[in-house]
Symmetry: D2
Subunit: 379 residues, 4 copies
């Protein structure tokens, strides 16, 4: 009996592109054969996953005919049904084909922008047909190598036009679908627009239908830039905008490693699970726990399934540790809110001329307050 074994209630999901990743990298060829999507779904179900996510072309090849597409989708829906798996999220591949080499929605070329919209509307239809409630946008080519090629303000406008267009499409179709925007600072481009979850959160506020758009932060993407992932996620949660999340592991200042969740920077992984689960008392995240990771190139398919189970078990182990941490009386004492009978009501009351006068009149013992040790180095 493994108390950390994944169950459907954990709502763990994997992309088809993750466990199906053949292990090609910039310096090496594939190390594993391409896998049939239906096989992947069945194996994920066996491992204890709840959902499977996909880019349009993970399932339906680029340029497939309508009848081929329908045949593939029909078989896949049957497999989902048989295996009891759901598709919580879908997305569009706007980065693999050379047509997107200098951008999708932000390209200088209207042909590329138009094709990006066509492809995404088709892919949204596909996602909705499969039951997806979340639609992710990762603008892998929205950025530059030669930055002088495009006014970055113009790029913002084009990006916004694209998102507004697609929001309207979803509403017009009556789809029950929300968008989740995924930031990344660089790679494959030298510099990408809307580099972090912070930039995305602001961009969303400028959209016509911002209420249906949130973020999909990815551990690896924020960590590449050395940013605190938990701070960015917390900002999104506090704003009610954490619609989806991509769990994996990454070292700072590297290429996009997409390593197994928890395999690097265990402390950040712990802090993240603690935040998502709300063990310290805040509202937990209730969306899918999605792993956007892939196994080492050293592995064959057996290793891939070990990897998948490892992602999920690590999450469950960290959840148990987070609960234990926040139940610990020493931790509780150290993180408890400090109260002050004079100041608390004054601060809670917010600004008014009178409140400010009262606040300014309070004499604070600066040296004593400064000297207090906070006990964070507890051994």
């Amino acid at each position: 009996m493994d108390s950390f074994a994944p169950t459907k209630d954990d709502r763990f999901s994997f992309g088809l592109w993750t466990v199906g990743n053949p292990g090609r990298d910039p310096f090496g060829e594939a190390v594993r054969p391409v896998q049939d999507p239906n096989h992947l779904v069945r194996k994920l179900a066996e491992c204890g996953a709840w959902g499977v996510n996909l880019h349009d072309n993970d399932l339906v090849p680029f340029g497939a005919s309508a009848s081929e597409r329908d045949r593939i989708v029909g078989e896949f829906k049957a497999t989902l049904e048989d295996s009891g798996m759901v598709v919580p999220m879908a997305t569009t591949n706007l980065f693999s084909h050379p047509i997107f080499k200098d951008g999708g929605f932000t390209s200088n070329d209207p042909k590329v922008r138009a094709f990006g919209l066509q492809k995404t509307m088709d892919a949204i239809d596909l996602g909705v047909e499969l039951g997806a409630k979340i639609y992710v946008f990762w603008g892998g080519r929205e950025g530059t190598e030669a930055d002088a090629c495009r006014d970055p303000q113009e790029a913002m406008k084009r990006y916004r036009d694209g998102m507004n267009y697609l929001c309207s499409y979803v509403k017009d179709q009556g789809y029950d679908l929300k968008f989740a925007l995924e930031a990344k600072p660089n790679e494959p481009r030298c510099d990408m627009y809307l580099a972090t979850t912070g930039h995305m959160l602001h961009f969303i506020e400028t959209l016509d239908h911002s209420e249906m758009v949130g973020v999909n932060p990815e551990v690896a993407h924020e960590t590449m830039a050395g940013l605190s992932f938990t701070h960015g996620v917390a900002q999104a949660m506090e704003a009610g905008k954490l619609f989806h999340i991509d769990l994996n592991a990454q070292r700072i200042g590297r290429y996009d490693q997409d390593l197994r969740f928890g395999s690097e920077d265990l402390k950040q992984a712990f802090l993240l699970v603690r935040l998502l689960e709300g063990t310290s008392g805040s509202t937990p995240y209730d969306g899918p726990r999605h792993f956007d990771a892939h196994a080492y190139r050293t592995e064959d398919m057996d290793g891939v399934w070990e990897f998948a189970v490892g992602c999920m078990r690590t999450y469950n182990i960290l959840r148990a540790r987070a609960r234990a941490f926040d139940a610990d009386p020493e931790v509780r004492a150290l993180t408890a809110t400090i109260t002050d009978d004079t100041l608390d009501p004054l601060l809670a009351a917010g600004y008014s001329s009178d409140n400010a006068a009262a606040l300014r009149a309070v004499s604070i013992d600066v040296d004593a307050t400064a000297a207090r040790g906070l006990g964070y180095e507890i051994s």
Copy 2:
């Protein structure tokens, strides 16, 4: 006759803390004597600067009596008058004193939060008295070493409460003052809240009086994290939120170097000046060009003034180069908008059911579009 010599029309400003920096660092003592603020103002005027900025304690020592404060301020105002210098921006030092060791507005301790508000209201009064129209907030201690000490969502709320309070104070006093928030990813804390200009732009949208709050991006702060500075600034400009800017230089993944503007990553400096000056056709930034930099520790005061002139001349040289670049016919041809008689009107019209049907019906030659070379490697 130096055609790049700074003039008042260039609106260059320096902080008192920049040219007055004695060159102390974590591993070494001061290499230059502390300078009298009045002397710094007179020398900056000689060098061709237009403005001087300050933290409260750059001018008035922490804990000074009211009469001492008034005497110091009176003398400083006379010096400004004599030298024809203005104070475009002021700010609060909420980071040097040990009381702020675990945060100012986000501290767990209400005494610290209250003291932060008291100190800032006083410092706003000082800034306004000196003529400042922009008030900067850099939350140097708003972050953590031991991240478990505080729920980061709670930190967001406290930060917001602080900003709302102070916005109300400014409005209540009838001050003609805008706020500009300055992000930094780390240092002096391990991780700081609202790590980038993107995070700040979103945070501002959640404030009670967001219309009076914009950003003050700093080259060094975004560059530490390896982010494209111009992309972040462009996002702020496009949103009408670039209220101030801190110009300096920095290498990626280092401590906060605050080097002379243009002395590292010359291409980014060029792209930034091009963006601020709008030489490619976009609306230019019309605020102060502020240098938040300091001279190498190898320098005596003569070197400091060479440094100050160097910052300003470099900006002017880059402005001239940006104008020449965007006047070049080859550049114009490469960056010109691509037009398409069929697609342009369809894209410009935005979404409707009919427009979308028409857009989806357009057949795009994917291979031909993909094969087109864009000419960015022009030799």
Copy 3:
């Protein structure tokens, strides 16, 4: 009974500058009072440490008279005796005083180079008097901001001249002392010479008395640059050059954080302890386990002592985990040497014309070898 409590047999040491660190940083003043060195030694002894290390000026102020120096040293030796503590390592402060602002041994100015030698000879005498067997060199100012100021090849020569001079001094005095060189890529300078343990190891081979010179790698210094600390340490160990080690924690791409050992990147800390302790079967490191770390600025002196105990307990916990890991049969199976009856003797024999002909004649099943999964993603 705490089974991880430090004992003298663990050979843990701290610098006076670590537990005595008052917590000043580039943006803030000291948060703790300066501590008497004798008090620090007594407290370290209480905490379970075995040794204490020092820079000359940690004990004897810069510019102290000979009699003052002797009085201080006499008292300190008595304290060491009383508390049963040793001084395993000493070093010179060649970075705090402004005279070193553009280098010590590599300065363009012969006055600075000469003063560096004078100061170091005095400091070596002090270290030897206190019983030190290891003398560390950290060239905190050996580098540049304005790199054009000095031919870096000339800097190598000057650095070597300095080290050769001091090696000869030690031999001439008949001291039983080895040197350990400590690399750092940047900070306080923009770029420092001999940036990593690898560069140092090579430099050592070019010295007149390389046999008495090894390295003192520091976790934080290699990690700043995102390098694998264990790989560098392993290279030094394999070469018999790991004479000392500085244990702490650091995030990649940051200022020099010197955090508590194990508090960041727990996996690297585990791998390091495993390597130092030789639990996988290799020869263990037998020198001091030195912590070059300091407590968070949030702490008072109680927190500093919690921090010190925490460094040592974390090491002991990781040692226990490393032993358990390498005793695990699954781990043993995965990391076992793969044998091949044909190839092993051919490879072991080394090169000869005949061996090479034989090796080339062996037919290797490339596809089968490539397809083998290595099992590193074990869940």
Copy 4:
């Protein structure tokens, strides 16, 4: 007449894999067709290059028969002859095939190590047949994802065994060939052994035939880790170990970008050319100026040739600027050796008891020496 146009005297070379790079990346398919090596050679000659370098499989496909190999090589030699091009350097592809997924020379599997030796001996034969005098080793797979899989000290030993074997092979064959080892900190592995040029320089000293082994530093590889490229190159030059160099451009903390030389961090590129050309008075580097870069994915083949010319012209422009810089009287004055009649002879004499006594007796005016400004912030 373009005074910066490349000529044969400039000794510029490109890898077949650079101008022939089809632009595939981790997130996208090839954007340019695969090019015939003979065509590439003819075009490089037209552009003004002097040499072309190659991996074995850039010319001869993996697994080609002996007769196919000979036919290909024969045609290629004729093309070289016709176009007046040379092959100054060759190397082995020990990274693309899945057999190398967990290392070549350092693999745990003797089959892989043996195959690596077989393949490299064949590739050395090929390189020598084509006239190469330098043989590069880039150990793209010599490293780890799961670091616990192998004792890093054992990896050092295996790496050394491999290099010793191949040195002996070259000597035994009577080849006029030197080895140049190329370091990289990470990618494609998470962490690679011998991470920097410094680590390589030390490793070389441990080889049986170290005299025939030097380094091949690459701008991008050292820059990824934020290290000063010029410092590492200077250390190699000073040791007589700079046997080859890979010129390109890179931003710190990113994936391996291999951008056009000079297109990022122009100051470092300038300092590098200055060092290689010896314009400040030191001995110049006399080997090939090799570009290991590739054009943006936005480019078609026309853009690739613009890129190639751009690499070479940028080098020539920077050479001219370096000469002008070092001819400038102000620069000369700032970088001139400081002399001191008393100290210079004492320092030049090196250590003796008497010299040391004399040196210690000199009174140095510490405050005056410290106060001197060095003038590096010249405007």
